[in-house]
């Protein structure tokens, strides 16, 4: 499944001083996959676009911290 966040599992040693974070994630935003924006890309309405920060739906990739995500984020 395509996702804009990837995860990796860092090595966990037997003598790590802090409780290990077993899965770490990082952002791979849509710009990495588009190359050159094609014609007739799907658009937000102007009012939605002003809030989203982009006119183009495929470029929209909001970031939430874990506490916000626990509350379900704040989808547009």
């Amino acid at each position: 499944m395509f996702t804009l966040y990837k995860t990796h599992r860092p090595f966990v040693g037997p003598f790590d001083p802090c409780p290990p974070i077993r899965v770490k994630s990082f952002s791979t935003p849509p710009n990495l996959y588009i190359g050159f924006q094609p014609n007739n890309f799907p658009q937000f309405t102007p009012m939605e676009a002003l809030r989203a920060g982009t006119l183009w739906k495929p470029l929209y990739d909001p970031y939430y911290n874990s506490r916000e995500l626990a509350k379900g984020g704040n989808p547009l």
């Binding site: 982009t54 970031y63 874990s66 506490r67």
Partner: protein, 189 residues
Amino acid sequence: MWIYEKKLQYPVKVTTCNPMLAKFLIEQYGGADGELSAALRYLNQRYSIPDKVIGLLTDIGTEEFAHLEMIATMIYKLTKDATPEQMKAAGLGDHYANHDNALFYHNAAGAPWTATYIQAKGDPIADLYEDIAAEEKARATYQWIINMSDDPDLNDALRFLREREIVHSLRFREAVEILKEEKDKKRIF
């Protein structure tokens, strides 16, 4: 020449009195990957870049100043009513000793802004790749600040700014494609 619109690109609202967030936000004000660095980098590089992409650097460089204004507004709102004691408690004691509650171009650790943060190599590909990297680094910085912030309205504006970094990065990537001159050209293998 520029035309100034006396409003912010996106409304800046701060819900909670938390001057410590100002200490983190100043990274995007006077830090290496901050908005000042971005604006000055693009608006300087544009003179020697090929004509096809000058307009892009002008537009994005100008927008970075709009972002700088937003960051400045956030920092100002978070610190304008902070007492010396609150500044000290927020880790801004050394800032207060030098600047009172004024803003200054330095990073979160207090290192003043320097032109060594930016480069103009004169090579169009090298310059555009630096610009792409700068956008990705600024995007990451916004993520780390959002991770430390629990202010819903502030995070909303920071999300907007992060989204703009994504759009700018794509536009710079497209500029590279334009300069490569492979777009829409028939490739024969």
